[in-house]
Amino acid sequence: MLAFLVRRLLTLALTAWLATLVVFAVLESIPGDPALVMLGTSAQPEAVAALRVQMGLDRPWPVRYAGWVGGMLHGDFGTSLTYARPVAGLVADRLAITLPLAGLALVLSAGIAIPLGLFAAGRQGRAGDWAVMAFGQMGIAVPGFWFAILLILLFSVRLGWFSAGGFPGWEAGVGPALKALLLPAVALALPEAAILARITRTAALDTLREEYVRTAVAKGLPRRVVLRRHVLPNALIPVATILGLQFSFLVAGAVVVENVFTLPGLGRLLYQAIGQHDLIVVQSVVVLLAVTVVAVNALVDIACAAIDPRPRVTA
């Protein structure tokens, strides 16, 4: 187990380092002078030159790369060129929106999908099953942004229950902040729930065919109790794996939903930073996302290995 852990952590570090190299190289090769972007079309050349020096852009790339990676190891992610603020602070501000959003979406997604999946498995081939499968199919097929726009049109424009987007900030209170996150979380959760419901259904059906379930049924336990006590816990293993994967996907993939709802989350920060040529922010956020995805995958692997040692031995 220890060797497995060490191997997994080494892979993680190597991936992170490769990510910094690739991201830096790609951004370095894109044309565009950040100082010029900041000062605009009427800028005097000497002001642009002064700003370049102030931003450290006049230094050669190996120096800037080493400075960036070295800083990150000490928790210093550099200073945003456009916002003139430490990137770590910017990212923390944005994570304070994206993480609760992803968490809320995950809870909604699981809260909808697991009961629906179990319900469908319990009545395989009947109308209820068919309805859940149809919901699943639709949820997978409908693009998230389109669904988000429909939600805004219905709940904000037509009914006036919610703001059409934006975020009042956590300092405005937990209630208003959560309210601002609810519609985007639903928009994020439904496509995920559609996938998850189908997986839950399949997992439950597989478990239903197991010997011990037949035994339980033969013992005369009511179907409902069999589903809850014997099927659900075992079916949850594949469901949890998918949930773990979905979390990293939600964090990284919230870009579209954050833009439709003008939520100032991490995805939108990345989107804006690319537009403004704020290289240090783009670099740091991309590396952060890459590390998060790799780390979550590693955690899922480690958790699975701890639960069931067989794959670890064969791997």
Binding site: L39, G40, A47, G275, H277
Partner: protein, 508 residues
């Protein structure tokens, strides 16, 4: 079967989780709705397309900085009013010496910064010296280039001496770039701005909004609004939704022109269309073949149907121009009739220039929607006379780098939004690659001239020179559309400067 019923009920309950959550969350919304209809409303939510990168107008070119801070938070010595005139700012009056080289400013007596310190002549001297200093990163450093020295003989008086006459000096001192800041707070203005204006900074929710509150210690007239929130919404569909949902009270610079009719038809909203300083031009590289031939440039001018362009891009909202000058400004000369739409004339001019079969060229377009749409239409119009245009959409940073700075382009399309910026045609290294002794001679005379009638005549002469030389394709002025709730009063209709001056806004 009771089990089935129970399970069905469970599924329905789960499916309705969203509905319930929505209903629960709706409570606070309905509770908030009450003060919205209150007659004495004193808060305002202003929509903006872009978020300012920071809030220091003296350290960045982004228009969004001025759109939040100008006249609200920060005051320059002089100010631009809603009509575009220079009016008193932090200086309540001033005198100009006969030779146009000495400006004496008298500051308002009770002016204070938001941190409670006096705004005096030392702060003005600090601000001007900082802007023109060697390590200044002021985006409009050129505005301060003529200053030879700044003296502060007493706390309320500032004497600025120029090394050469500058006819636009008072105008430039009214820009956000010339805002007066204090030495002790200047360094932190990007995040926590401290100015002398009638509003002070409250908070900034990064990526979403900046909130200003009324400054109780302001020495001038108190604004009617107690709180102003600037919300940043870049997506056109989201802008429309935010207005319709009632999140936004006023959205100036609303450029989703196709949505204007639906707001005009809705009694809850008012749509105002005014002018900006944004001359939209078909930027032409005058140094490149075949554009170094004036006949080719004139042929292009004849080949562009401005009416169709304005209808197609701005849905009819916007004025045609014939030179680089806005029609609403004194000194404007109407030159739109100089090159009427005439494809045959264009073909004849091309043939005269030795290009009877036309030629191939590229048009590099920056991201704004007006540029992309205009570019496609112009490519089609030029194709009619044999000019085969390859359209190349670009992102903003590469456009600045390659087109604007590198001058590596044939044609481009952009609105020049700086006020009174006809002088860019006199800059030797500007991206049009245009040189004209005649134009520069008039420019030199403008700098020596204070008399406004004489200045306007000189501006007219400059416009004629540019139109005759057909330096660029002069297309239209970007309109300034404002969509707002009908009860909002006092927002600027025109945009003589890029600002959302809310000091005079109130609810009806």
């Amino acid at each position: 079967m009771p089990n089935r019923q129970r399970r069905t009920a469970l599924a329905i309950t789960m499916g309705a989780v969203l509905g319930l959550a929505g209903a629960l969350a709706a409570g606070p919304v309905l509770a908030q709705a009450a003060p919205r209809t209150d007659l004495a409303r004193t808060n305002l939510v202003v929509g903006m397309r872009l978020e300012p990168p920071h809030l220091d107008p003296t350290a960045g070119a982004a228009a969004a900085i001025d759109e939040v801070t100008y006249a609200n938070l920060f005051e320059p010595l002089t100010r631009i009013d809603a009509e575009g005139k220079v009016v008193p700012g932090l200086a309540e009056k001033w005198e100009v010496s006969a030779d146009g080289l000495t400006y004496t400013f008298h500051l308002r007596k009770g002016a204070k910064f938001h941190d409670g310190t006096d705004a005096d002549s030392a702060d003005v001297k600090f601000s001007l010296d900082r802007a023109r200093g060697a390590d200044s990163v002021n985006a409009q450093k050129g505005y301060f280039a003529a200053i030879a020295g700044v003296e502060a003989p007493d706390a309320r008086t500032v004497v600025v001496t120029l090394s050469r006459p500058d006819g636009l000096f008072l105008f430039h001192m009214a820009s956000g770039d010339a805002a007066i800041v204090a030495p002790e707070s200047a360094g932190a203005n990007k995040q926590t701005p401290i100015g002398t204006g009638p509003f002070k900074f409250e908070r900034w929710v990064a990526g979403d909004r900046v909130v200003l509150v009324r400054n109780p210690d302001y020495d001038g007239p108190k604004p009617a609004l107690e709180r102003v929130t600037f919300r940043f919404i870049s997506d056109p569909a989201a802008q429309v939704a935010a207005l319709k949902a009632g999140d936004i009270d006023s959205f100036p610079q609303f450029d989703t022109y196709e949505a204007l009719p639906q707001f005009r038809d809705d009694g809850a909203f008012t749509v105002m269309v005014g002018t900006t300083e944004g001359e939209t031009i078909l930027g032409t590289n005058n140094a490149r073949k075949p554009f170094d031939d004036v006949r080719v440039r004139r042929a292009m001018a004849h080949a562009i149907d401005r009416k169709t362009l304005i209808d197609g891009v701005l849905f009819g909202n916007g004025a045609a121009i014939g030179s680089h000058f806005p029609p609403h400004r004194a000194g404007y000369v109407d030159l739109t009739g100089l090159y009427p739409y005439d494809p045959d004339k264009a073909k004849a001019l091309l043939a005269e220039a030795g290009l009877p079969d036309g030629f191939e060229t590229t048009l590099r377009l920056p991201p704004p929607i007006y540029a992309r749409r205009s570019g496609e239409l112009i490519a089609a119009m030029l194709a009619e006379v044999g000019i085969r245009v390859k359209v190349e959409p670009m992102e903003w940073a590469p456009w600045l780098e390659q087109v604007f700075k590198g001058k590596n382009y044939d044609l481009t399309l952009i609105a020049h939004t700086e006020p009174l910026d006809i002088d860019i045609y006199g800059r030797p290294d500007y991206y049009f690659n245009y040189r004209s002794e005649r134009f520069n001679a008039v420019g030199a005379e403008l700098d020596r001239t204070q008399n406004s009638a004489k200045r306007n005549a000189l501006y007219g002469e400059q416009q004629r020179i540019l139109a005759e030389d057909a330096v660029n394709g002069f297309l239209f002025m970007l309109p300034s559309a404002t969509v707002q709730k009908s009860a909002v009063q006092g927002m600027w209709v025109n945009r003589p400067i890029q600002a959302n001056d809310v000091t005079g806004v109130r609810w009806k």
